[in-house]
Amino acid sequence: MPIMTDLHTELKASIIEQLNLEDMEVSDIENDEPLFGDGLGLDSIDALELIVLLEKDYGIKLTDPKKGREIFESINKMADFIEANRTK
């Protein structure tokens, strides 16, 4: 069982705000739900938004947008990556 941390909730709230998912709430996003494609339905433009979010909020700089796809697979993956790499 993955543990729901503050980081998970924080990420969901940031995603909803940053990507203008107006009709969504934090509880609508599952931790292991795919963020792209058939899951939440995010696209390549959202991936670029999330790359800036990583840099701005957690001090992680990604130079290759292709890497984003793996990191942003789900909230769980994102949270793990942030925990391992954050500088702020």
């Binding site: 940053q18 990507l19 203008n20 107006e22 009709d23 433009i45 670029l48 938004e49 840099e55």
Partner: protein, 350 residues
Amino acid sequence: MYINGMASIAAQTEEDLFAGNLKSFQQNIFPATIVNYKEYIKPMMLRRMSKAIKMGLVAAKQALNEAGVEVPDSIIVGTGEGCKQDTEKFLENILDENESFLTPTAFIQSTHNTVGGQIALDLKCTGYNMTYTQNSVSFESALIDAKLQFAEDPDTRCVLVGGVDELAKTSTPFYNLDGQLKAGEINTAEILQSESGGTITSEGAAFFLLSEIRTQDSFAEISDCMIYREISEEKLEEEISWFLKKNDLKPEDLDAVILGNNGDKRFDHYYHQLQDTIFKNTLQLGYKNWVGDYNTVTAYSCWLGAEILKRNEIPQQLKLNNLEVKQPKSILIYNQYLGKNHSLTLLRSL
């Protein structure tokens, strides 16, 4: 070119226009009426759209619906100021963050052809796609392009043409600073009698589904359109007569003229001159005191003219003189902004 479907979003509703219930505003900047965009646009698409894109896409879809067309052969959009909301959003980010931490969404939605591109994307329309951005003749440039399309390509059956412009929170109020907007207390209903410079502004979208061949859905015709970057008052009368003549009309044959009077004392004399001379005995209509002046407000006036021809009914609140017309058949639209970018558009009933 025949109109088979059309739709308009502006500061006034169609119902209020023909019921004589047009509202006045106490500000020099006022928004378009509220539309339920969710009815027409998927939420995942809607979330990134500024008002111009939403208004444009919905008006386009409504026009297509009315004409019973799913995908047009071409999409031609006029927008004088394009996607200002996203432009200022991205620009403010650049200035605030000193060129760092920038996300691309506002940038990619800021280009002037975003509305045309988003309509194509939504309809999966791979046909001809064009965007004109020439101040107050942006919509007319699009109309002229549509006319050429029909003339040159027998495969072009129907063309979607529209005009759209939006307000933005910082860039629109800049027009208070360079004299484009009226200062002081304002009652928009009364601005056409104003003795001061400047006008009032708003936003809107009007789209038309046009065909070269008359169909069972056709209800009016856009016969001709001309644009002039500059024209002198002396030359204007002559040019209008020539324009009408090439369409087998004389000024006195017109049933109504829709004029772009916007209450700007510095430039309304272009209209007043015509009102006192060649159009003295023609029904004169003005509309900008109700929906504001913006670069593509002439798309609204085109919708208005076509609606009058379709209904055989004149909205009484728009009348600038007291003539009566029972069965309007031909309507001329004349417009200019700040004395430049003049246009003539001729509408006829069927």
